[in-house]
């Protein structure tokens, strides 16, 4: 995390809610046999002034599993604090 010193500032929002869906892209103009699963997630956060923000992000399964792994590591590391 050393590459983002900005993070040291306290203006970090609170996570309010996560909504998700699992989708399967079946077919496209280039590939009739696309068969590509993806996760879409909407993150609702509130900044320090209480203003709410929503952000939607698409992930491949690899990206999703990486995020999930990072969250598990966070939880593990939180237990030791």
């Amino acid at each position: 995390m050393d590459e983002s010193p900005d993070l040291c500032k306290v203006d970090v929002g609170q996570l309010l809610d996560i909504r998700w869906k699992l989708g399967l892209a079946v077919s496209s103009d280039e590939c009739k046999n696309l068969n590509f699963p993806f996760v879409t997630m909407t993150l609702k956060t509130a900044d320090s002034s209480g203003q709410e923000h929503s952000r939607t992000v698409e992930m491949t399964l690899t990206q999703f599993r990486n995020m999930s792994k990072q969250l598990q590591e966070m939880a593990k590391s939180m237990e030791t604090v």
Partner: protein, 188 residues
């Protein structure tokens, strides 16, 4: 005629790099010059159309090796310009090493929204807080870099948020729900 295999393979590879691996600077003239310098322009154009057609069919169906054999057999029995044994060998070799990579490239070209580029996190201990109970409670801070997949040169947006231990466990259970759904609906 082993040379035919080599040239045909080179042409397939060149077209693939141009169409699927983002090397659009590879021109048809360049391919002709490098691979078939002695072929007439007309014959080269025919070959080019042929290769494009083969690629398009294989990519569109994301053929497995069995489907490829059926496809190649049909192509070798065509009345007009049937595929030669050398060309078929080139296609087999080409598809074996490129099938997965091309499909992945097609997939990433099909992601049009915001995609997750990077995940980082940090655990903080609050030394000061509005409520006494929050003091020394650990807090998880996550940073997501979200990029517009259609505008690769645009800098990624950064979304940061904080989670209490409780919130984090709620999020984790959502992740588990998603994973379960994936295992249920997506065959590996």
């Amino acid at each position: 005629m082993a040379d035919d295999t080599k040239s045909f393979l080179a042409l397939l590879n060149g077209l693939t790099r141009k169409s699927y691996y983002g090397q659009s600077e590879i021109s048809e003239d360049f391919l002709k010059e490098q691979i078939y310098p002695d072929l007439s322009q007309e014959d080269f154009d025919h070959l080019l159309t042929r290769c494009r057609g083969l690629l398009k069919s294989m990519v569109s169906a994301d053929m497995d090796m069995t489907q490829l054999e059926v496809f190649l057999t049909a192509q070798s029995k065509k009345r007009e310009a049937p595929l030669t044994e050398e060309q078929m060998n080139a296609v087999r070799k080409f598809w074996k090493s490129n099938k997965t990579k091309i499909h992945e490239s097609i997939i990433s070209q099909t992601m049009w929204g915001s995609t997750l580029q990077k995940v980082s996190w940090r655990i903080d201990l609050k030394s000061q807080a509005r409520h006494v109970s929050e003091i020394n409670a650990p807090s998880a801070i996550m940073e997501l870099q979200i990029a517009d997949s259609l505008q690769k040169d645009k800098e990624a947006d950064v979304v940061r948020f904080e989670m209490s231990e409780d919130k984090l466990s709620t999020v984790l259970s959502s992740m588990q729900d998603i994973e379960e759904q994936i295992n249920q609906y997506v065959q590996k």
